[in-house]
């Protein structure tokens, strides 16, 4: 049974249809890259998977671990093991990173039938993971993402992922706004999480992230549909040739 199965998924925001029939199957252990130009629907797909209510699903189905994902609240999706690394992590002044992450981790642990962590357990768990992400421990006491630099925010996302240990991680443009050094730290964090039980969907505009996080499959999303799929070499082709050829309607290509 695939971990994630998306069939003919349609979604809109307001009156604008953005996803126009997505089909995608992701098995445990696989890393799928979703590439495509701006406005193609990549981020919408990521947000729909996480359950953002702003996007209304108008057709199709998403099955996660045999369950109807679209029926689940965002928090239930997270508790079942879905994690979205946000393109724009939200600043939450007044809530410390520590309180937030401990609350999240304990909710998820409780859902999995595990004991909740106390403050000491929690610190032990996060200390190692902060080191991998080269994050300063003082970040724990700061409000969630508030006043973080772009790079710190992205690292914080992957750090959260490392702590929450999802089964399906969706990374939305995690490379945007990162310099090459920060990109390598983030990618190392992601790579450390790769495992046969865990799947990842990596949404990106650029190939450079995919030379650090090497995917098993690459899909090209254009105008709300996956127009081409292939292996990791597809990313290199796209880097060389751009998206232009792929972005026209497939029918139109046929007529020529």
């Amino acid at each position: 049974m695939p971990l994630l199965e998306i069939k003919d998924l349609h979604a809109k925001v307001g009156d604008r249809e953005i996803l126009k029939g997505i089909n995608l199957t992701v098995n445990a252990g696989e890393v799928h890259a979703i590439m495509g130009p701006n406005g193609s629907g990549k981020s919408t797909l990521a947000q729909v998977l996480a359950g953002r209510e702003l996007y209304v699903v108008t057709g199709g189905s998403v099955t996660y671990d045999g369950k109807d994902l679209l029926e689940m609240s965002p928090e239930d999706r997270a508790r079942e093991g879905i994690f979205l690394a946000f393109q724009y992590p939200v600043e939450i002044p007044g809530v410390s990173n520590m309180y937030f992450l401990k609350a999240a981790l304990n909710t998820i642990r409780k859902h999995r039938g595990l004991d909740e962590y106390d403050a000491m357990d929690f610190l032990n768990v996060v200390r190692d993971k902060m080191q991998i992400m080269k994050m300063d421990q003082t970040l724990l006491n700061r409000p969630v993402n508030a006043g973080f630099s772009g790079g710190e925010k992205k690292r914080n996302e992957i750090f959260q992922m490392a702590v929450l240990e999802p089964r399906l991680a969706v990374l939305d443009e995690t490379d945007s706004g990162l310099d090459i050094d920060a990109l390598r730290v983030v990618a190392a964090g992601v790579n450390a999480m790769r495992s046969p039980e865990r799947a990842m969907v990596v949404v990106t505009h650029y190939q450079r992230l995919l030379s650090e996080i090497v995917p098993d499959f690459v899909h090209v999303l254009a105008e709300g549909r996956i127009v081409k799929s292939g292996g990791k070499e597809l990313a290199l082709e796209l880097e060389a040739e751009g998206y232009a050829d792929l972005c026209e309607e497939p029918e139109a290509v046929g007529k020529l």
């Binding site: 996480a50 359950g51 965002p74 928090e75 997270a78 994690f83 946000f86 939200v90 002044p93 609350a103």
Partner: protein, 396 residues
């Protein structure tokens, strides 16, 4: 002019039946204050200062005066004075000529709490003043208490004052606190209003701040059916005033915070942050008046009022009121009324935190910066506990 339904007659009767004041000058004050109260009558919503706060329910009720239970905790370095020893200051700061509630309080001057912090003394532990309206069914159904406090802080002295108000059932607290901050003194004042949700609470705080002195007020308003807080500060040369506030209301609670910062002399600074959280059909009013007089050059003043509205039916009226007569000053103000941030809610949910808990967390976070400004650890802890419980029920 008083409306027919006003119970001025009942107030007069209780005024006349009081035991004589402890000193002739106090009796004169009482007489003058009652005369002024009788002239002014209770304010109506036609009065600009009371436009959004209708006190008809107070005006219509025949109250019976009662002395509040008063609990004082203060170290040896603080002197407790008899009211009769405080002629130079008592009722000289909180003017009763314009505010009928201050007049009414002054008309019943009696058990005044007068504390003096001698010059140069640094009082490290907070001075606690707790007022509670007692349950006295034998006196009748509608009790009215007029707690009165005068704090005299000597030159260069430092102190922290925590004033609390509590009670049970339906009653009326009409409080006046005067604080005289000596030159170069540092005073932090906290007021925690936890009246019963069926009580009326009207209170005036008047701080007169000396040269190069620093005064801060933190007004936490949680209880009461109808609440009006006036926090007034008058600055001297180089004074620093901070007025912070947090009000949390639900149901049909009404809370009105009026602040007045009077920059009378040059080089003063003032900072003001009031935050409110409203649920149900609650109504909050904020009016922040800042006067910068002609002599008050180099004034630096900042005012912020932020409101978080959790329901569709809650109402906020917020108004800055700047009167600036000097030309070399910096004054900024800002007010916001908003709901919980949908992006932030989703972010928390996407990490497994349930919607209700996420709302609670964000609501709590909204209040956090005011709570963080509270320097008394025990007060901050108890407030955090209260907020935690309150938002738990709000989120239901």
């Amino acid at each position: 002019m008083s409306a027919v339904a006003e119970q001025t007659g009942a107030w007069l009767e209780h005024f006349m039946n009081q035991a004589p004041a402890a000193a002739p000058w106090m009796q004169s004050l009482r007489d003058a204050a009652f005369a002024r109260f009788a002239e002014l009558g209770f304010p109506t919503t036609h009065d600009e200062e009371w436009r959004f706060t209708n006190v008809a329910a107070i005006a219509r009720t025949a109250f019976t005066p009662v002395a509040p239970d008063t609990l004082l905790v203060y170290p040896e370095s603080v002197r407790k004075l008899e009211p009769a020893e405080a002629e130079a200051h008592l009722a000289r700061h909180a003017a009763f000529d314009r505010n009928p509630f201050v007049a009414l309080n002054t008309a019943f001057l009696g058990n005044v709490t007068v504390l003096e912090i001698p010059r140069g003394i640094v009082v490290e532990t907070p001075i606690e003043i707790a007022y509670e309206v007692p349950e006295r069914p034998d006196l009748g159904p509608n009790l009215a208490a007029h707690p009165r406090t005068l704090i005299l802080v000597g030159e260069g002295a430092h102190c922290t004052i925590v004033e609390t108000y509590k009670g049970a059932g339906a009653y009326f607290t009409n409080a006046v606190t005067e604080i005289v901050v000596g030159d170069r003194a540092v005073v932090d004042h906290y007021k925690v209003q936890q009246e019963s949700v069926t009580a009326f609470h009207i209170a005036t705080l008047q701080a007169t701040i000396g040269r190069s002195a620093a005064f801060s007020s933190h007004s936490i308003s949680l209880g009461g059916a109808l609440v009006r807080n006036d926090a007034n500060a008058t600055l001297s040369t180089g004074s620093d005033a901070t007025l912070n506030g947090l009000y949390i209301v639900n149901g049909t609670q009404h809370v009105d915070n009026h602040t007045l910062i009077d920059h009378a002399m040059p080089h003063g600074t003032s900072h003001e942050l009031y935050k409110g959280i409203l649920d149900g059909k609650a109504h909050a009013v904020f009016n922040g008046k800042i006067i910068v007089r002609q002599d008050a050059q180099k004034t630096d003043s900042k005012q912020t009022n932020k409101n978080l509205v959790l329901s569709d039916d809650a109402v906020v009226d917020t108004k800055p009121e700047l009167q600036i007569f000097a030309d070399d000053v910096r004054c900024t103000h800002g007010a916001t009324i908003g709901q919980l941030d949908g992006e932030a809610l989703f972010y928390l949910q996407s990490r497994g935190i349930g919607k209700r808990e996420a709302r609670r967390l964000l609501t709590y976070a909204f209040a956090q910066d005011v709570v963080d400004r509270i320097k008394v650890q025990s007060l901050r802890d108890s407030l955090e506990r209260i907020l935690f419980e309150k938002f738990h029920e709000h989120a239901e």
